[in-house]
Symmetry: C2
Subunit: 199 residues, 2 copies
């Protein structure tokens, strides 16, 4: 109760902790692999007592709520990070910096991205929330009409996947090395073939 008498509707702290813990469990073990008891245990409630149901109506309820919360939080954080990024001159330096930022963002979005792909058939809601929150322009960085940037974005996503998998041929290549090669390969054709995007 505030001094003015006006009530600030504070969110239930237990509910908040459930949202965080549940999303982490869903990402780590999948939805089917996570039980309500697991969630209760993770937030310090007695497992198997159903205390969870005082905060959410079902497993799907907490799944969607925690996912939505996680996506919105990430979008805000990445937007803030981009806004705080120091300005760099255009050209290859700027290109390399954008690649670093983008790769870091892909790494941060990876758990939620994976959850969408894995649970898509059972919970299409996740895909809807994810794509709506990110929007079409999220990965373009103002390079919209540059086909070399389209290739760079895809290459960063692929490099990220290979690294995550610890798969050949990228097992031992650092992000800095890959970005250097990527910028080198894709920055020598900036002045050509802009109308190549559509068949």
């Amino acid at each position: 109760m505030t001094a003015s008498g006006a009530r600030v509707r504070a969110p239930s702290p237990t509910r908040e902790r459930i949202l965080d813990a549940a999303l982490e469990l869903f990402v780590d073990r999948g939805v089917a692999g996570t039980s309500i008891s697991d969630i209760e245990r993770a937030v310090g409630l007695a497992a198997g007592t159903g205390s969870f149901y005082r905060h959410f109506r079902s497993k799907e309820d907490v799944l969607v709520a925690s996912f939505e919360r996680g996506v919105l939080r990430l979008v805000e954080e990445t937007a803030a990070a981009r806004a705080a990024a120091t300005d760099v001159a255009n050209g290859t330096e700027r290109r390399a910096r954008d690649c670093e930022v983008l790769l870091a963002e892909m790494q941060r979005f990876q758990p939620l991205w994976q959850l969408v792909v894995v649970e898509r058939d059972r919970y299409p809601e996740l895909h809807r929330v994810f794509t709506e929150a990110l929007g079409v322009a999220h990965w373009t960085f103002g390079w919209d009409d540059d086909p070399t940037w389209g290739v760079a974005v895809a290459a960063l996503a692929g490099f990220h996947q290979f690294t995550l998998m610890e798969a050949a041929p990228y097992r031992d290549i650092t992000p800095a090395t890959f970005i250097a090669v990527l910028v080198d390969v894709t920055s020598r054709s900036d002045r050509r073939s802009r109308a190549r995007q559509q068949p």
Copy 2:
């Protein structure tokens, strides 16, 4: 029984069908989301009777066996497809053809790749089987020392991921269009910077 009296150890047909059905279920629903009854039902056995256990000792048993079988089968098929591919002159034509072949392979490996990533913490055996079966050289195509091919491989993997996700900015771009752009962007620096791979 053969005429010579020599016995050919024919694999149990039910066991074979379980291997195929189980792998498909694991890919579609995850391991935790697939029950033994689901597997029995999928091969025409009465669900919940435990007939499954006459063929495999546990869920993990059939998981590893079916995954190993699936990986080896895919490796053989892709090797045969590459061997049967018609020869194309070197240069951009050859590069485009290799990109098409590689993208098609990534699409075929996608379900098993995803299963490895998702279940890796609980079943690290899958990751071991997958990487051992593919080997370091699987994606290089004889372009080992060409950094532009390293970028192309990563870009194809990324394009595949974005397409799978129906995510921006690749939602409406066809594989043929992307490969055309990719070859165009990466084929103009073949004669330069071969020593750029290590930092």
